[in-house]
Amino acid sequence: MSEAYFPVGPGLGMEENFLSLDDILMSQEKLPGRAETALPRLAVLMGQGASSAESVPEGSKLEIPLWLAKGLHDSKRRIISVELPKIYKEAWRTVFSADANVVDLHKMGPYYYGFGSQLLNFENPENPEIAQTILQTFVARFRRIMDSSQNAYNEDTSALVARLDELERALFQVGQKGLNDFQCWEKGQASQITASSLVQNYGKRKLTEVDG
């Protein structure tokens, strides 16, 4: 059962993977920030004004997507400044260090690990603690993911994955696949020839008559 399509995985770390769909979706997440200089005629884009002639005044608060924040971020020409979203701040960091398993990471932004790694690109005095917290959270939640993915055979897993973020969900899928492959082999289905998923739909499409 080899795959025909290998999706490019997210580049986890301070650089994104250009071709990864997960990274593209992740960089759409918004950061709170402030405009350091007036942004002429951009009020509509930033959701602040009604007409295209208005400019964003200096110092106003904005929600900026990550890709835009990374592009505009420059310590020499201060166009915008960004703050940390609240889940990477001190208060939530202590929650994570107390018990990372109870947090609903999907609700907190489905790309906790990826987004957190990208935040380290902006110079911020709390960066080492953020990096440490992200790592510790992953390590703490690893056991739960491993156990649930390797033991849930043929059941509805939506309750198990509901609180995982996207990276953990991908890991969960891998664990499930290992389990399913083994069970399928043990039942003897591995030696049965089945139609490939790529061609199963061919017979279902009916040719429509072309008139004229």
């Binding site: 690990y113 990096a131 992953f138 390590v139 890991l171 290992g178």
Partner: protein, 185 residues
């Protein structure tokens, strides 16, 4: 690697059969087999044994570790120890499945054997997960596990290597290195 591939490798193991036909020594690329004489036991690879059994040309003799007493000992030892006990065959899971599926009439107390092997497997896989978890939790750099069989490794292998990849990348975040590839205007 998939379970089917590991089963393919397992089929090279030798097992004893008692044929009911006669044939001279045959020369195959991997080695010689035979000669086959009715009623005399001979050692052949599992792939041939299964094939002959399906065509009703032989009777299989179970390997000497495939016995209820021996397997109970192995299972109890597995449960007592924290490390992995050496298994009688590096392909015990595959051999059990193949022999019990195709030749259960030649193997006494086949159901009990199946249960015992499954119990041993479950214990070993649980130990593997425990050690993987402590490996990740303490962020060790190196771990060594003896006496694991290939089938056990592939069931958790991909998951573990991917998780360790992620952990590695998250760890390199801790060292703010040089080379932030920003685009200067």
């Amino acid at each position: 690697m998939e379970p089917a591939e590991v089963e393919f490798l397992a089929e090279k193991e030798l097992v004893t059969i008692v044929p009911n036909f006669s044939l001279d020594r045959i020369h195959l690329i991997g080695g010689d087999l035979g000669p086959f004489n009715p009623g005399l036991p001979v050692e052949v690879p599992v792939w041939l044994a299964i094939n002959l059994k399906q065509r009703q040309k032989c009777r299989l003799i179970p390997p000497e570790w495939m016995d209820v007493g021996k397997l109970e000992e192995i299972r109890d030892q597995e449960r007592k120890e924290d490390t992995f006990t050496p298994m009688p065959s590096p392909y015990y899971m595959e051999l059990t499945k193949l022999l019990l599926n195709y030749a259960s009439d030649n193997i006494p107390r086949a159901d009990e054997i199946r249960t015992l092997v499954k119990d041993t497997w479950d214990t070993r896989v649980a130990k593997l997960r425990l050690s993987a978890d402590s490996f990740v939790r303490q962020q060790e750099a190196h771990a060594k596990l003896d006496n694991l069989t290939l089938m056990e490794i592939i069931t958790t292998g991909t998951f573990l290597t991917q998780a360790l990849d992620h952990m590695y990348k998250l760890r390199t975040n801790l060292q703010p290195g040089e080379g932030s590839h920003s685009q200067e205007f």
